[in-house]
């Protein structure tokens, strides 16, 4: 086997890669247990409750400060989305209504290249 030159910088990269693989493997094993699933189920639920409570508090606070809340901004965004959707549909409908094609379509006659025998 050919001699390999020691390269400290390559060694550092190898070390990072090895660490990444080991941590990921350890995590993979951990997630196989039932306790992990139970913990994840609880964590998701807790997260949901916390998020909801936080969102309600923020809504009240922003309303007191006379500022738009997240849900109000979302409502406006949705209305803008609908307007954008309608403009897009109108554009597509106009394009279809007999307008001559600006760009010639390529011919659909291409054949697969012959494979070497």
């Amino acid at each position: 086997m050919a001699n390999q030159e020691f390269d400290p910088f390559r060694a550092w990269q190898d070390l990072v890669q090895k660490w990444e693989i080991e941590i990921n493997e350890w995590s993979g094993k951990m997630t196989e247990s039932d306790q992990f699933s139970a913990m994840m189920g609880q964590a998701t639920k807790m997260n949901l409750v916390a998020q909801k409570a936080w969102a309600e508090r923020m809504e009240t606070m922003l309303a007191t400060l006379n500022m738009p809340t997240k849900s109000q901004v979302e409502d406006i965004t949705e209305r803008l989305d609908r307007i954008e959707d309608n403009i897009e549909r109108m554009r597509l409908a106009m394009e279809q209504s007999g307008k001559p094609q600006a760009r010639p379509e390529p011919s659909r006659t291409r054949k697969a290249p012959k494979k070497p025998e």
Binding site: M1, A2, N3, Q4, E5, F6, D7, F9, W12, Q13, V16, Q17, W19, E20, E22, I23, N24, S27, G28, T31, E32, D34, F36, S37, A38, M40, G41, Q42, T44, K45, L48, K52, E74, E78, D81, R82, D85, E88, R89, L92, R103, E105, P106, S107, R108, T109, R110, K111, A112, P113
Partner: protein, 362 residues
């Protein structure tokens, strides 16, 4: 064979290497600052136009670049939780660019963030409304009655369900990129959404739309070291403009994970994950049973060797339960995303896809 111990480099070699690394360290600091101050990276290599839009669905046609193209158009369904530009990140690592240059007429079914009033969209809506509507539009544009239908990850699942429900229908060929079919092999997601501990109904009732953070958390659990290792790698390679540009594009894509409609999420968890209804032949969509055996179109099953999301086993019903007698599998080096983006796929994988698809696209 015994391994020879590494040789000690000479003083000149060491000083040369140190000089190079000092130079790189300077570059890292300069470019590191650029990185922090940079605006959002631009993605997309090829010119495209929206040809169909219906709520969350958006069908792009990428403008052909060849004067003569294959008869059969190619449509790829992207996963509803991710933006479709992963197929066209940048020149030199874009699947769309590659296929256009090889003479295909390429369409990507992409998704916008669903609105609150779209929380009731279910898998049936994606299959019977969005995919069916997109294929109808492509047939209208091209004057053809058949398409090559492809899909990536959950986009592949939706495309597969469409192909089974509409067989023999308009699907001339089926191309799958990391499509999970047997969900008993989706180990991480099975653990995360364990039937005994995961209250999907409560989640859907409370949230309506399922936020991306919920799914990103599961991905982080699968590979907890990836984020940190990615940042260490970024710093190590900060001197390289190409690496930084690539990193920022992938990072933008990963950060732009979309919420999904609650009803869709509920069916995915209950029917696909818990009941494993797809390979069992028990999945009901719009009152019809999804029977994979009805698919007789040629199938190309593309799998990544080191995919921590969709394992090789999870894709196997495509090769064993479909009714096609023209099936091929490609197991490519790399991970989940490396199938659809990046220079390595351009060199190794995509030419094989072209080889397979060209003779089936005339």
């Amino acid at each position: 064979m015994s391994e020879t111990p590494p040789t000690i480099p000479s003083q000149d070699e060491v000083s040369d290497r140190v000089r190079k690394e000092v130079q790189r360290a300077y570059q890292r600091r300069i470019k590191g600052l650029d990185f922090l101050l940079a605006e959002r990276v631009h993605v997309g290599a090829m010119e495209k136009e929206v040809v169909y839009r219906d709520g969350t669905a958006m069908l792009y046609r990428y403008l052909p670049v060849e004067d003569e193209i294959y008869r059969i158009p190619l449509m790829i369904v992207t996963p509803p939780s991710n933006k479709g530009y992963i197929f066209d990140l940048a020149s030199g690592q874009s699947f769309v660019e590659f296929m256009l240059q090889r003479g295909y007429d390429v369409y990507i079914l992409d998704w916008n963030s669903p609105r609150k009033d779209e929380a009731s969209l279910d898998i049936a809506d994606y299959v019977d409304r969005f995919i069916a509507g997109s294929i109808a539009k492509i047939c209208e544009i091209t004057g053809e009655e058949e398409v090559t239908l492809g899909g990536y990850c959950m986009g592949g699942v939706l495309a597969l369900i469409y192909a089974a429900l509409n067989a023999p229908g308009p699907v001339k060929n089926f191309v799958s990129f990391a499509t999970p079919v047997d969900f008993t092999h989706m180990h991480l997601f099975q653990a995360w959404a364990n039937k005994d501990h995961f209250d999907v109904d409560e989640l859907v009732e409370e949230l309506g739309l399922i936020p991306p953070e919920l799914m990103l958390g599961a991905f982080d659990l699968a590979r907890p070291a990836n984020r940190t290792a990615g940042q260490i790698n970024l710093w190590t390679n900060m001197w390289s403009e190409d690496f930084v540009k690539s990193y920022r594009m992938f990072d933008r894509w990963a950060a732009e994970t979309l919420p999904v409609p609650g009803a869709y999420f509920r069916t995915q968890i209950k029917e696909l994950m818990w009941k494993n209804a797809l390979p069992a032949g028990e999945l009901q969509i719009g009152g019809r049973t999804v029977d994979l055996g009805r698919i007789t179109a040629p199938i190309l099953n593309i799998v990544a060797m080191h995919d921590h999301i969709v394992s090789h086993e999870a894709t196997q019903p495509l090769m064993t339960q479909t009714g096609s007698n023209d099936r091929k599998e490609i197991v490519s080096k790399g991970g989940h995303v490396s199938l659809v983006a990046g220079p390595a796929a351009l060199r190794r994988l995509w030419p094989l896809i072209d080889d397979w698809l060209a003779e089936r696209s005339t």
